[in-house]
């Protein structure tokens, strides 16, 4: 295949060896209008820090567009451009191919430039899926699509998205007296789906910024491996999940230690679980009950014990029954599903 692929070299971005070796410089800085304790803003900051100065960032509509770059204002140190809600994939492709063409024609200096397009779960898992899928099938362009997933359309005041977890309270799924659970769908498995379906894509990972070193090294690997890559980040959202912002970091840790959010990377087709997720899979770390995670969030305040048990059973199934635990939801036999009434 390599003979047909016309790809340029990427930047050499070595893994960061420890938090004390972290680059000091910021490329996404203070003065954005996000919520107190916004983990998605933290993703932007650390993503930019990992990528470094020779980077172009494209952002589709969502909190990280509206709050960071309100009229005539920006927090970006590197060049940043807005793109439409569902077009992070096409914008990344366009920017990467544009840079390639300008370099070939000698209009700009020939050098590797990181192209990162980010999208929220609404812009990525819902609206942008086809464009992201298309971008990941083109091996000729170096680009990273990073999806920051706060599990709702948080910017427009928390409507449910394909990424919203079962039963959560959103503007579109308010629990009522007659019907308690108004959202019955299970969260879309974005990284697993893209990894399973895009053999030309060399790198797909899930991250959580409560584990910043691994997440930043994921960004670095995605930018230096060559070709299109995808990272899915779970971002606790104090506004939509309804919790005290000081718990942002802890909430991300809980998502991982309860097994709700598995951390893994798929590098050239090879799957590797990492961090606490790896310990869980190897039986070295006992998963926390999801109750610890759910009862800390106002969006699950209406859950009964039955609902919590059901949520737990679905997470257990992910670990005990899936052919690739935590990653791909293929089962060996049909399982019955009985959500509480």
């Amino acid at each position: 295949m390599a003979t047909f692929v016309d790809i340029q070299p990427t930047q050499q971005l070595d893994p960061i060896k420890g938090v004390k070796k972290m680059p000091l410089e910021e490329f996404f800085t203070s003065g954005h209008r996000t919520c107190q304790g916004c983990e998605s803003a933290l993703v932007m900051k650390l993503m930019a820090k990992a990528a470094g100065p020779r980077t172009v960032v494209l952002g589709s509509t969502g909190c990280m567009y509206v709050a960071n770059t309100t009229y005539y204002s920006t927090s970006w140190v590197v060049p940043w451009m807005h793109t439409q809600l569902g077009s992070s994939g096409s914008a990344a492709m366009g920017a990467a191919s544009g840079l390639k063409a300008l370099m070939r024609k000698g209009k700009i200096k020939d050098e590797p430039i990181n192209v990162i397009a980010f999208c929220g779960d609404g812009g990525g898992a819902d609206m942008g899926l086809s464009a992201i899928s298309a971008a990941l099938t083109h091996p000729d362009y170096n680009l990273l699509i990073l999806m920051y997933d706060n599990e709702s359309y948080a910017n427009t005041d928390i409507q449910l998205s394909g990424s919203t977890p079962y039963g959560a309270h959103t503007t579109f799924s308010p629990p009522g007296k007659m019907k308690r659970i108004m959202h019955h769908r299970w969260k879309k498995n974005m990284a697993g789906m893209l990894a399973a379906g895009h053999p030309t894509c060399k790198y797909i990972a899930t991250v959580c910024m409560s584990y910043p070193l691994q997440a930043m090294n994921s960004v670095r690997k995605a930018l230096s491996i060559g070709g299109p890559t995808f990272i899915h980040s779970l971002d606790p959202c104090p506004k939509g999940w309804d919790y005290d912002p000081m718990q942002s970091h802890e909430m991300g840790e809980l998502a991982v230690t309860t097994g709700v959010w598995p951390l893994y990377e798929v590098e050239e087709g090879v799957i590797r679980l990492y961090g606490k997720t790896k310990e869980i899979a190897e039986g070295r770390y006992k998963r926390f009950p999801v109750r610890d995670y759910l009862l800390r969030q106002g969006r699950f305040a209406h859950f009964t014990d039955d609902d919590i048990d059901y949520f737990q059973s679905k997470v257990d199934q992910m670990w005990d029954k899936w052919l690739v635990p935590g990653v791909i939801p293929f089962l060996k036999e049909v399982e019955t599903d009985h959500p509480p009434k």
Binding site: V19, K20, M22, L24, E25, E26, F28, T29, S30, G31, H32, R33, T34, C35, Q36, G37, C38, E39, A41, L42, K45, P53, V66, A67, T70, Y71, Y72, S73, T74, S75, W76, V77, V78, P79, W80, N155, T156, D157, I158, H169, M209, P212, P238, K239, G240, D242, Y243, D244, P245, M246, Q247, S248, H249, E250, L295, R296, Q297, G298, R299, A301
Partner: protein, 392 residues
């Protein structure tokens, strides 16, 4: 021509969204009880709200329909009879979500108008926080811990009806206590809430703030370019790269101070601020690394100094710090400036230690809670808040 009443409710985005909506809605409902038409609305530019970023609701009431229509022709009121700050730290100024610059909390108050504040502070402390005004106005304090909850679960601590009772006292022309109680009974069907409103009505005291009393600072402003001055493609310059820091005492150069967005500073979002004990800091990097607002400057000696122009007070730094009382969140009412703590520590380490201990141990003010931490937490907090309400 009738009389037009305007009331603004200034609140912390998301945390007090339901509270502010309850107040402005009930103002109009209480006025309806007296046959006065009115309308309650949130300020368009504040939506989508962000946790902690100041936002506003308005209640406009008139003695007749025509006066109301005339009042409503304005996008938002240019002056108000009452400004309500449901959190006392808003007295330091309001930098709204889609606004540029800082606005004094009393900016829209008419001469002689009333600023109602929920606080446990004394009037002197609040007046010192509010920006100066050329003419006198009234200050009324509803004694209590500012009520914070989240988007989905509301903390039912009677903060809403206590404000309503206070309004009936300071502006009886708008509506009487009786009308407020009628509206409360109709809206909440809760006699206890009606009693809370009456208690607040009886207890509320007002002081007159004379002209030119308060914070003398000029609130910061920005010049935005006119459309004819914009660049091609409406592009704007990026934030410049930062620079190493210098210790002016030792001439040591190092660390990193990022440049920051000059048009949004975010400190008016803060209700608590981190104070850092540089002597016990183990330089683990976590506060700096985990701060979503990049507010920590890395000093030449490898310490982390929270920049008080940029910090919005989320408290993540305190949560991730592995050392006991190295980073401590302290009530924002305890501070009068945004100066660098590291520079203060550099100049006088003994003095700093004393200041720090005083802030942490003696002066943190009421324990603040910024929303949902676990199921059942609000139910635990409400009795204490109601107790304070009873004491007045």
């Amino acid at each position: 021509m009738g009389r037009l009443f305007a009331v603004e409710i200034v609140y912390r985005g998301i945390f007090q969204k339901t509270l502010a909506k309850n107040i402005s809605r009930a103002i109009v409902l209480a006025a309806h009880q007296e046959g006065k038409p009115g309308i309650s609305f949130g300020r368009y530019g504040d939506s989508p709200e962000r946790n902690g970023v100041p936002a506003k609701n308005f209640a406009i009431v008139a003695t007749d329909d025509q006066t109301l229509e005339e009042g409503m022709a304005k996008y938002e009121p240019k002056e108000v009879d009452i400004s309500i700050a449901v959190d006392d730290t808003l007295c330091k100024g309001v930098e709204s979500w889609a606004w540029y610059g800082l606005q004094p909390i009393n900016r829209l108050l008419k001469p002689g108008g009333t600023l109602i504040v929920t606080s446990r502070e004394e009037p002197e402390a609040l007046i010192e926080m509010c920006h100066r005004k050329e003419y006198p106005y009234q200050l009324a304090i509803v004694k209590g811990i500012p009520s914070f909850s989240g988007l989905w679960v509301y903390k039912e601590d009677h903060s809403d009806v206590r404000i309503l009772g206070a309004i009936a006292k300071v502006l009886p022309e708008l509506f009487s206590l009786e009308s407020v109680q009628k509206a409360i009974r109709a809206e909440w069907k809760d006699e206890l809430k009606a009693t809370s409103a009456a208690r607040s009505y009886e207890r509320i005291t007002t002081v007159t703030v004379p002209p030119n009393q308060g914070n003398p600072e000029e609130p910061f402003k920005f010049e935005l370019p006119k459309w004819s001055e914009m660049r091609e493609g409406v592009t704007i310059p990026a934030i410049p790269r930062g620079h190493a820091m210098e210790n002016t005492a030792t001439q040591q150069v190092g660390g990193w101070q990022p440049e920051r967005n000059p048009t949004f500073k975010k400190f008016s979002t803060r209700t608590m601020r981190p104070v850092v004990d540089f002597d016990t800091c183990i330089k683990c990097t976590l506060c700096w690394l985990q701060c979503p607002d990049s507010c920590f400057d890395v000093t030449p000696d490898g310490l982390y100094d929270a920049n008080m122009q940029a910090c919005c007070g989320c408290g993540v730094c305190e949560a991730v710090c592995p050392v006991q009382k190295c980073v401590t969140m302290v009530n924002e009412t305890q501070f009068r400036d945004n100066d660098s703590q590291w520079e203060m520590w550099n100049k006088d380490k003994e003095g700093y230690k004393k200041w720090l201990l005083e802030k942490i141990e003696h002066g943190p003010g009421p324990q603040r809670s910024h929303g949902f931490r676990y199921r059942g937490q609000y139910e635990e907090q409400v009795p204490e808040m109601l107790e304070i309400a009873r004491e007045g």
